[in-house]
């Protein structure tokens, strides 16, 4: 750079670094304040889950509300232990994991097959089905939860074991996922299938041996959203799952169980917060592990509306 120009008093690039630093500092201060607003409630949840009732009461109104009780880590351990074992959260979490696993597998098989047929095969009646897919995606179906309830109740009766099907089966079909699969499969070149057909595979074989292995991104996206959906659902299971004969609720998924846990007599604030933390951990892990697919989900899903 030309030194003589740099020496001129009003040369602008000379001012910029300072201005830029100030701007950077302001940016980061604003960012930190905003971030704090967003995560303070979460910090409060984490911190409280480590405290006994007395320590919690003492921390109210001080900065300790947002800091874990490092001095008594044993209490934290006790909170989590009693929630997991005494209040059976681990059982409910297991239920949720099982429901989610079954729903994910069924979802991929059932909706994936439908998406494949709609994308790759020609048959009479296809145009009506494509129209119905679009129609059912656009109509807001959530409002039909009460008729759905009466249908499932009458279909499955009031037995405990059958009501599990009431949790799983309605979640196994998703028109939106059929649509996602259809769009994805349409972009898989014909040559892959033809090669497999020459080797003697039938349509089902092509689907399992050629199409599914090529579709890992969409499988992951559907699986992630299925898992989050099943894990976070509390209302439908609370309607459909009856109590056992001894008055307990052995089949509840974790979110529904949370509602009953809160009203247990003698449960401490720390223990409630510990159960909230435990409930949030699997979703947190999912988001961290599957970031890529979640963002991909945005790209493939709605933006073409």
């Amino acid at each position: 750079m030309d030194k003589s120009i740099m020496d001129l008093p009003n040369f602008r690039p000379n001012k910029t670094p300072v201005k830029k630093t100030v701007k950077e500092v302001i940016y980061h201060i604003v960012g930190i304040v905003l971030s704090l607003i967003f995560i303070l409630p979460i910090l409060y949840m984490l911190a409280t889950s480590t405290k006994g009732e007395v320590a919690y009461a003492e921390s109210i109104g001080t900065i300790n509300m947002f800091l874990p009780d490092f001095a008594n880590l044993g209490v934290a351990f006790e909170n989590y232990k009693s929630v997991l074992l005494d209040y059976d959260i681990w059982k409910y979490a297991t239920n949720s994991f099982i429901y989610a696993a079954i729903v994910i597998v069924l979802n991929i098989l059932i909706n994936g097959l439908a998406g494949y047929v709609m994308a790759k095969l020609t048959f009479p009646g296809k145009r009506l089905l494509s129209f119905m897919i679009i129609f059912l995606i656009v109509v807001p179906v959530e409002t039909s939860i009460i008729p759905l309830y009466s249908i499932v109740k009458i279909m499955l009766g009031l037995k405990q074991q059958m009501s599990v099907l009431g949790v799983i089966l309605p979640a196994a079909i998703s028109i939106f996922n059929v649509f996602l699969f259809m769009q994805f499969f349409q972009n898989i070149p014909k040559e892959y299938e033809e090669a497999a057909r020459i080797d003697g595979a039938n349509t089902l074989g092509v689907f399992f041996k050629v199409i599914l292995p090529l579709s890992k991104p969409i499988l992951a996206t559907v699986a992630v959203f299925c898992f989050i959906g099943v894990w976070n659902d509390y209302l439908w299971p609370s309607m459909i799952l009856p109590a056992a004969d001894d008055g307990t609720w052995p089949l509840l998924p974790i979110q529904t169980a949370l509602i009953t846990i809160k009203s247990i007599e003698g449960i401490t604030t720390g223990e409630i917060m510990a159960s909230l933390v435990i409930t949030s951990v699997p979703i947190f892990v999912t988001y961290v592990a599957a970031q890529k697919y979640i963002v991909q989900g945005f790209g493939t899903s709605g933006l073409k509306m």
Binding site: G31, I32, L34, S35, F38, I42, Y44, M45, T48, A57, G61, M65, A114, V117, L121, T122, F123, P124, K126, R127, L129, L136, V138, P140, V141, E142, T143, S144, I146, L148, Y149, S150, I151, V152, I154, A172, I173, I175, N202, T203, L204, N232, Y234, L235, Q255, L258, I259, T269, I272, L276, T279, I283, Y287, I294, V295, F298, G299, G302, L303, M305
Partner: protein, 323 residues
């Protein structure tokens, strides 16, 4: 109920068969070739999804339409009478008498009008804020997204604790540092819905921020350079490049947030229970149909709500589509 379902199934299959025949008849004109083998395979593979979709999606929609004109009481499934428009007359009576339904509509509208601009505005501002290179912005992005990870029921319990009345509540204890007297946020009709609006926006806006970010990343960088060369200032650049580029993302977000907001139910249900100052339409519908077991009347409310949501959604798409 079983008979009705079978009749509906029969009608459905008839209509479907009609379309199949129509497709076969017009196959030549459309230069389509149908093979028996591939048709049979296709239908076998479609069977599970069509059966489930019929049972759990189509049938409930049709029933909800039909029940709206009956006096169906959940415990008397064999004693359903057609009452024509009585349910809707009751609805308008309750609204004009300023009953629970009136409150439900009022609260839902308050929530929608409050949360839609707040959540989308926040999401857009945060997306623009973190849309730059650097470690700081990455950390901020994670912080803004963190509440999304927490489920609605956990959010409701957490905020119930935060907004707890008396000195023990987190918010009250923080305000006490500024000598503000404690307040019962969720019991006071003036503050309950605003609190629910704020916590919902807090919980949800990180998600829309990510969608805005992926929209921002699709805008070509050279457009900004071109605009700068043409002498556009930051505001003009935002308006003519960023905003235009984000249009389809924005419409998508507007529609999804709007529909989600109309259906709000979890937060009032778990935080306050069935109270006139926080009851919402979905909650009213659920309470009427499930807790009080009046499926017919509840379906009538659902029908009106579906028409309302569908109508506004169509309007929004019209408004923003072409241009």
């Amino acid at each position: 109920m079983l008979n009705t379902s079978l009749i509906i199934l029969g009608l459905f299959l008839c209509a479907f068969g009609g379309f199949v025949i129509y497709d076969l008849a017009t196959a030549k004109r459309r230069k389509e070739v149908y093979r028996v083998k591939s048709t049979v395979t296709a239908y076998l593979m479609l069977l599970p999804s069509v059966a489930l979709a019929f049972l759990f999606i189509l049938l409930p929609i049709l029933y909800s339409l039909g029940y709206a004109f009956t006096d169906y009481y959940l415990l008397k499934p064999n004693d359903i009478d057609f009452v024509f428009l009585d349910n809707f007359a009751d609805i308008f009576k309750e609204i004009s008498a300023k009953g629970m339904l009136y409150n439900a509509i009022k609260n839902t509208l308050t929530f929608v009008v409050g949360v839609v601009p707040l959540q989308i505005g926040l999401a857009l501002l945060l997306a623009l804020f973190v849309n730059r290179p650097g470690v700081g912005s990455k950390i901020f992005k994670v912080c803004f997204f963190a509440p999304v990870v927490i489920s609605l029921s956990v959010t409701a319990f957490l905020w119930e604790q935060i907004l707890a009345p008396g000195e023990g509540g987190l918010l009250n204890s923080m305000l006490a540092m500024f000598n503000v007297p404690p307040h019962d946020w969720l019991r006071d009709p003036a503050t309950a819905m605003p609190c629910i609006i704020v916590l919902s926006a807090w919980q949800g806006c990180g998600y829309q921020m990510l969608i805005f970010l992926s929209g921002l990343s699709n805008i070509r960088k050279d457009l900004y350079e071109a605009a700068a060369l043409d002498g556009a200032n930051k505001w003009h650049q935002f308006w003519n490049v960023t905003w235009v580029g984000l249009r389809s993302t924005f419409v998508y977000i507007l529609i999804t947030v709007f529909i989600g907001a109309c259906r709000i139910m979890t937060q009032p249900m778990l935080m306050t229970g069935y109270m006139s100052h926080t009851v919402t339409l979905s909650y009213y519908m659920y309470n009427l149909g499930y807790t009080e077991r009046w499926v017919g009347a509840s379906s009538a409310v659902a029908l009106l709500m579906t028409i309302f949501i569908g109508g506004i959604t169509l309007m929004q798409r019209r408004m923003f589509r072409e241009k």
